[in-house]
């Protein structure tokens, strides 16, 4: 048999498909499927999580709130003041499914939050920044609105789903060493995030409670107005308010709601207790304001 040298044909074992096209197709499919699973499981988690018994919610809350309580101030008259204000905001006959616990946190980050189990976290910086009781009441009532709507629980449920989905994806990925850290990180970003709809509902709820408590909505929006205007000055505003700034739109919404309901917006200001910025409300120096 005589050997005749022939040119080797090309492309037998290599699919001629552009790698970028292939990548785009894969990424698109994986993202679409995970988003779909995430949304469906998210709704399932929300549905399940609001059926958690109060006892379980207390246990979950105690566990989850612990890391936030490192700088907690206990035995301070301000706590009683906040508790009283918070409970006075509930309309007659309205109850919370769990007793609310106020925690005063020594922090120079302006923040207030409510977590699973009815733990209300109020930072001292918030007390130093508010200028009237009306402002403070709106912040507290907004948080109360989140609690009454089960928002912290729903958010927790969604985070758990996100973690579960990302773990499954992570297992699929890590087998060939791909995308190891990206997905768990994105779940961190969703921590305690509420949707726009939830925020708006909490706004309306809070505003309604403030109006029914004081008889008017005047001065309550001032705090958010100052926050949105003075971003440069209030550098240490917490991430929470930065990611959810009460933008002009939302203030307009509330003003429109007031007009619709015929609520008065210009009335007397309810002053804060004089030494609210001081430990135990004993007379002290004015906090330094830049």
């Amino acid at each position: 048999m005589k050997y005749i040298a022939k040119k080797i044909p090309e492309g037998i074992n290599v699919t001629s498909r552009h790698p970028l096209l292939n990548f785009a197709y894969l990424l698109g499919t994986v993202i679409a499927i995970s988003v779909f699973i995430f949304i469906v499981l998210g709704f399932v988690a929300e549905w399940l999580v609001i059926r958690v018994s109060p006892e379980t919610e207390i246990q979950m809350g105690d566990m989850l709130v612990q890391p936030a309580l490192d700088e907690e101030i206990t035995d301070d008259k301000r706590i009683q003041y906040i508790e009283k204000l918070l409970n006075s905001l509930l309309t007659p006959g309205e109850t919370t499914r769990l007793p609310l616990q106020v925690h005063l946190i020594d922090s120079d980050v302006i923040n207030a939050a409510i977590t699973v189990g009815g733990h209300v976290l109020v930072h001292t910086a918030l007390l130093e920044t508010v200028k009237s009781e009306n402002e403070l009441a709106l912040v507290l009532a907004h948080e109360l609105g989140h609690f009454q709507a089960h928002d912290p629980l729903k958010s927790l449920g969604r985070s758990l789903v996100f973690m579960a989905v990302s773990t499954v994806l992570g297992v699929g990925m890590s087998e060939s060493g791909g995308l190891p850290k990206i997905i768990p990180l994105t779940s961190e970003l969703t921590n305690l995030n509420y949707s726009r709809i939830q925020e708006r509902a909490a706004d309306i709820y809070g505003f309604y409670r403030v109006v029914s408590h004081y008889g008017h909505g005047g001065y309550s929006l001032d705090f958010f107005e100052r926050l949105s205007k003075g971003e440069g000055r209030l550098q240490k505003v917490s991430q929470y308010f930065l990611t959810h700034p009460l933008s002009q739109d939302r203030m307009n919404d509330l003003n429109a709601e007031a007009a619709k309901q015929g609520w008065k917006m210009e009335e007397e200001l309810t002053p804060l207790p004089q030494w609210l910025h001081c430990p135990d409300m004993k007379q002290c120096e004015e906090p330094v304001k830049e």
Binding site: T15, T29, S176, G177
Partner: protein, 151 residues
């Protein structure tokens, strides 16, 4: 912030992997085609075991082996493919290059020795890194081609 840095890092690696991977692959294919054409006159065949060579005076074993690493882009593409299923087309060119390079190395060595044909050629592959250990680093493939050169 941390998350942002990580995501940015990921995309930089991805883009770097894509462009460097494409560049080196193109370069490699160019070299493979050129050398294949140059060595076309020496036949390599995979029969010859347990047969007598009437026209062979001398025989020797020749081994060509090559290790090629995947790039970050290929790794991520394949990882995504793992979730979906189907043909991992990004690895096809990698293995193709490996096989042809290994055969060429074996062939070139045999030609240097003076072979007029290479018989009983076999190919084997192995993976290095990647799947073993902590599962994080990109893997490599090794392709070994061996055969009996005669003259």
């Amino acid at each position: 912030m941390d998350a942002l840095v990580q995501i940015l890092f990921f995309f930089v690696l991805l883009i770097l992997g894509y462009f460097s991977g494409r560049y080196f692959e193109k370069l490699h294919y160019k070299s493979i085609l050129e050398r294949e054409n140059r060595t076309l006159n020496i036949p390599i065949v995979n029969f010859g075991a347990k047969q007598s060579f009437t026209n062979a005076q001398e025989a020797a074993l020749f081994v060509g082996s090559v290790v090629i690493s995947i790039d970050y882009f290929k790794m991520i593409s394949a990882a995504l493919r793992n979730l979906v299923g189907g043909r991992v087309t990004v690895y096809e060119s990698l293995l193709d290059r490996g096989r042809r390079e290994a055969l060429l190395r074996m062939k070139e060595d045999a030609i240097k020795w003076g072979a007029n044909q290479i018989l009983n050629v076999r190919l084997e592959t192995a993976t290095i890194g990647g799947r073993s250990g902590n599962n994080s680093g990109p893997g490599s493939i090794e392709v070994i081609a061996y055969g009996t050169g005669v003259k």
